[in-house]
Symmetry: C2
Subunit: 675 residues, 2 copies
């Protein structure tokens, strides 16, 4: 019975994507629910998310009072048990992850638990649909929330932020389980919002975006145009508030100009990635959704310009966004300090959302290049190998200065503001949804992950596609194609050739490889080499595909030395080391206890070596470094020592110590640190 409901739900979605509405993304993603993983790299990570991270997050939510907040709202009494009124959103995000995980592996106990939570949330909802535990329990003492509903929504009350995450979760729960109990609460709240906000009613630029993409999800499920209109309304409210200072003022800060909230100028006039990175990514994702659904060219040109700015001048090599810890966000162009890099885990997730939508708009592989770089490096570095310790920040180095590390190189089991752990909960199960996309009779292979999927590429004509690979450790990928129709099926396979496999480190000139690849990409169909002419970064193979046809892709897995743009001051004279899509780092644990003392000569060969027992199994790189050794208080020397590198994402799982991604290739001067 359950399965029947689910397949009805998915048929509905499928129906929508085939044109119920006039406009939508030209390229559509294949949802994670259609893709069955069988992958050495990702499957264990998704399993640990399902079996450890999600239960752990529910447990911590209970311990910290996040669930009690709902109980108090039901009782209309009490003081906020936690620190922030947006802590409600953590519950919603864990439910989102749990719903996805129910779909992957049904668990009656978890299903029942979710239902009990949803019932509790439903009771905490006010009769008119308003849902915000802090106010409903009668506690308006928090300086962020205001006496009246939505009074401080333009600042920090997060009333619409909570609801945006609720819609995301309710949509996921409905699509994954077929149940409407959570969706009903969401729709009741959304209908309440329609009575409060809109032209001629209250206007507000939400203080933390996410409601925009949430409303679009409700629209996609229900077809109710008012939800889409409200999403656009919230987006268009931005840039209308009067701030004391304006961008460009010498002393203006992101708060004083509204740039923190991307509220400094109307969105269609925005050209730079500014302010809080998570907010920014959710906003641009929302603008992409609305642009695709309403044919809004102004939104599209704005987010395209902003994307150019963000990924030409403001992105770390790991895909991390946000160099300014002070406002958890974007700094000036090319200011990409290594030790103070913020690169919030949530910002990486937000960047994946944004870049995936940019791909669905343009069909260009460069967005997937960024997505892949972010996913394999800056995003999953936010979760520890144990599945229950987290990093909020993902800097490029930890260095001992003045006797202590620059930043705490230690994963935490939870945070007072625990947005990142719960965002990991919900993001990880969705990863299979980024592997494929479709447009007309084309199937796009965006990521290389062992899996099986069955896709409809023409009316009633399906094909089963099976990827087999040991990516990212090895570069050969086998794609078996099996059309349902025994006569075969004429359609096109678009296989992404990653930038890194074509000697292009980054879609912009922000990063570049030194030297060139030894090998070239090879693509064969049934053993026959294919021409490598690419279209938007894809090799297109259009033919009559028959059962047993096989595509063999061989990507040149070589150790690469990467340099940053000359305007990135922190990395002048430095290199980073990459291998395939993976950014490497040196950790204290493998390098005689230090990494800030290492000089890595450019002229050398690195050796790869897969270590199954290290860090859940990683490919290590071995080279040589010149190490400066402090012999005593007054003397130093230099010795040559092995340099051992591990994937950046696996850092910070072996205690406190130095780590770095960028290495000097020569000594020009030394600064003596005395503590």
């Amino acid at each position: 019975m359950k399965r029947v409901i689910i397949s009805i739900a998915f048929s509905f979605v499928s129906f929508l994507s085939l044109g119920q509405f006039q406009k939508d993304y030209p390229y559509s993603g294949v949802p994670f629910t259609k893709v069955k993983l069988n992958d050495n790299f990702w499957l264990p990570k998704l399993e640990i998310n399902r079996t450890v991270t999600i239960p752990w997050s529910f447990q911590k939510s209970k311990e910290t009072g996040r669930i009690k907040n709902f109980e108090q709202a039901v009782a209309h009494t009490g003081k906020l048990c936690t620190t922030y009124p947006f802590d409600d959103s953590d519950i919603y995000k864990i439910i989102e992850g749990a719903a996805y995980s129910l779909h992957v592996k049904y668990d009656a106990k978890l299903d029942t638990y979710l239902d009990s939570l949803i019932t509790l949330i439903g009771k905490a909802q006010e009769p008119d649909g308003y849902l915000y535990t802090t106010r409903t329990m009668g506690d308006t003492s928090h300086p962020w929330i205001g006496k009246e509903r939505y009074e401080k929504e333009h600042e920090l009350s997060h009333e619409l932020y909570n609801m945006g995450h609720f819609y995301e979760a309710a949509s996921a729960h409905y699509l994954a389980t077929g149940k409407k109990n959570m969706l009903t609460i969401a729709l009741k709240n959304a209908d309440h919002l329609l009575t409060v906000f809109g032209p001629g009613k209250k206007d507000v630029a939400p203080g933390h975006q996410v409601i925009e993409i949430g409303l679009v999800k409700l629209y996609r499920i229900t077809g109710k145009k008012e939800y889409l209109n409200l999403s656009k309304f919230f987006i268009d409210c931005r840039g209308k508030r009067t701030y004391e200072k304006k961008t460009g003022d010498k002393e203006a800060t992101v708060w004083q100009t509204g740039a923190y909230w991307q509220d400094n100028i109307p969105v269609v006039q925005q050209t730079e990635a500014v302010g809080h990175s998570v907010r920014a990514g959710y906003l641009y994702a929302g603008m992409a959704d609305v642009a695709s659904l309403t044919n809004n060219l102004e939104y599209l040109t704005a987010i395209t310009k902003i994307w150019d700015n963000a990924f030409t001048k403001k992105t770390y090599i790991t895909g991390g966004l946000g160099q300014a810890g002070n406002w958890e966000g974007f700094g000036p162009d090319y200011e990409l300090s290594n030790h103070s890099a913020y690169c919030e885990t949530c910002a990486a997730i937000s960047s994946v959302y944004w870049n995936h939508r940019m791909f669905m708009m343009y069909g260009d592989a460069k967005y997937i290049d960024i997505l892949e770089r972010t996913l394999y490096n800056g995003l999953i570095s936010g979760i520890g190998l144990d599945g229950k310790t987290f990093n909020y920040e993902n800097p490029m180095e930890y260095t001992v200065k003045n006797g202590k590390l620059t930043g705490e190189n230690k994963r935490s089991p939870w945070f007072t503001c625990s947005c990142c752990p719960t965002n990991i909960c919900r993001f990880m199960p969705s990863i299979p949804g980024y592997i494929y996309a479709q447009k007309d009779n084309r199937v796009y292979v965006n990521l290389f992950v062992s899996n099986t999927t069955t896709l409809e590429v023409a009316p009633k004509e399906t094909v089963t596609i099976t990827q087999t690979t040991n990516y990212p450790w090895e570069g050969n990928i086998k794609i078996n194609v099996e059309p349902q129709n025994k006569k075969g099926l004429f359609y096109a396979m678009y296989v992404r050739i990653p930038g890194w496999a074509k000697n292009q480190a980054f879609p912009t000139d922000l990063y570049a490889y030194k030297g060139t690849l030894v090998k070239e990409v090879s693509v064969k169909v049934n053993g026959q080499p294919q021409a490598l002419k690419s279209e938007n970064g894809y090799i297109a193979i259009e033919r009559l595909w028959k059962k047993g046809d096989v595509i063999e892709i061989d990507l040149p897995m070589e150790v690469r030395q990467t340099i940053a743009h000359a305007k990135v001051k922190d990395n002048i004279g430095k290199i980073a080391i990459e291998y395939g899509p993976i950014v490497y780092c040196a950790e204290f644990a493998d390098n005689n206890g230090h990494t800030s003392n290492l000089i890595v000569p450019e002229k050398q060969q690195f050796q790869t070596s897969f270590q199954p027992n290290l860090l859940n199994g990683v490919m290590t790189l071995k080279g040589k470094a010149s190490a400066i050794n402090i012999l005593d208080d007054f003397s130093v020397n230099t010795t040559t020592q092995p340099l051992v590198l591990i994937p950046y994402y696996a850092r910070s799982n072996r205690g406190q110590g130095e780590m770095r991604v960028w290495f000097p290739t020569r000594i020009k001067n030394l600064e003596i640190l005395t503590e």
Copy 2:
């Protein structure tokens, strides 16, 4: 004839200081005009100021259009020839210095030149007394000056700043030459101000203080109480303007709070040294003047608290003030970065003014300790040995980072904003005025400089005092006392025992010596050792002094290692080296081309060696350092090498290169610089 006029003028001053007004400083300085220098250290510096710096500054003023600005004002036509409307003040400051120098050595040609300039300035004065060349020439296009007179005085028009310096100069010119031509212009302007500003008239907190001390000088000469009242009025105007932000706001800057102008809160409520350091020092000096003349306890308690803050938490070892180049001023407590230390030369002068007045209020030697430290180090480091190259900033180090020096270690022959060179012009000849002070029957010996002076210590009873010393290179000072009265004269000599000679590096805990002195201070009268009991930092010797009596002071000149307060992060684990009142530095020229690579072990003896042909004659210190040598791009070693130190003030006279005051005593870690 001239000499007669001068002595009349000085008698007048002398008369005033003996009580024409009810209130004044309890301790009075002995003006420089009464003190004849004969000193190896200072006399050559004052001579080079007289013979090189002053003519050079007049020449540069002519070349850069500063004089033409006055000609255009006379013609009521033209555009400002220079960059800033405050450039008028440079002419006034050079005249101030030139007037002093005329007194020291009469020069008819210079006298005539000054008169011609004063005539020109007089013609540029508007009929009602207003004097401000930019507006008078009809150029109100400069964004700082406003359409109406004084419209932007609270910001950057500097109308009252120009006049403050004019009053300073006119007073000096009158006192030094006896001529009234410049004073007349000043009084006409001051009378004009009385019609514009005051209770019930216009109120303004002057955008750059100095008018306050200038008006007090006119009051001291004329006895016209309105000038003193106006000075107090301007001081009391501060802290009344509404700024968007208030101090303490997280994002408030010194501009947004008014702290840049010390306009954030009323002066009597101020407790911290904030904002632009030169403005601050002039304000606090003005408050001291007004406090002493009007018995204003609120002013006195405010500047006492501010002094405590400035000299406990915000002063460099050279006496330099201002750690924030961005606003040329004070930063947060204990934030005393070495390479970005601003320490404007003008701020050192302003600090001497302020500390001398604090001494005149309290009679405490601690203020002279600061004054001496500032004078011998952070102040005269602003002028090159050639007398015609200058430093605006006086940082604690120049280090090669990213392939270039942190700051330009090069003296400039002039600046677009040339406040510092012209402040040097006027300050240097005034130095003899800081040597002595008097109160009742006490003579205070504050500085140790070879000179002769004759003081009236009782009605009609004078004593001639002659100091002979090779200070600061040697610690023995001989003071010959010769009362006019052959019976002798009963009075007290108060000899300052510098803090450094008593193992106290600084009057507060901001700096301290490691270890203790080997020798003790010795004070003898006619060969008889004196008890060393001190009063406010002075050895008091009250007796019947007779001709031929001699005081012999022996200060323990030893090389000292100084450490900074533990909260000064930049200096953790570092030492500075001092000898007597002199702060030393290492320059590239004496230390194998580098200084940032030196580790200076604490356990060592330094050797002193006077080098008559080096840097116009300096005592050098020699020790040993461990030097880190960069052998090639990948390797380093350490060698022991001689460490050669020179006085900080003599830095930057031998080309560009590294320099530093604070030395690591051990290596704990190294940061590798790649460019």
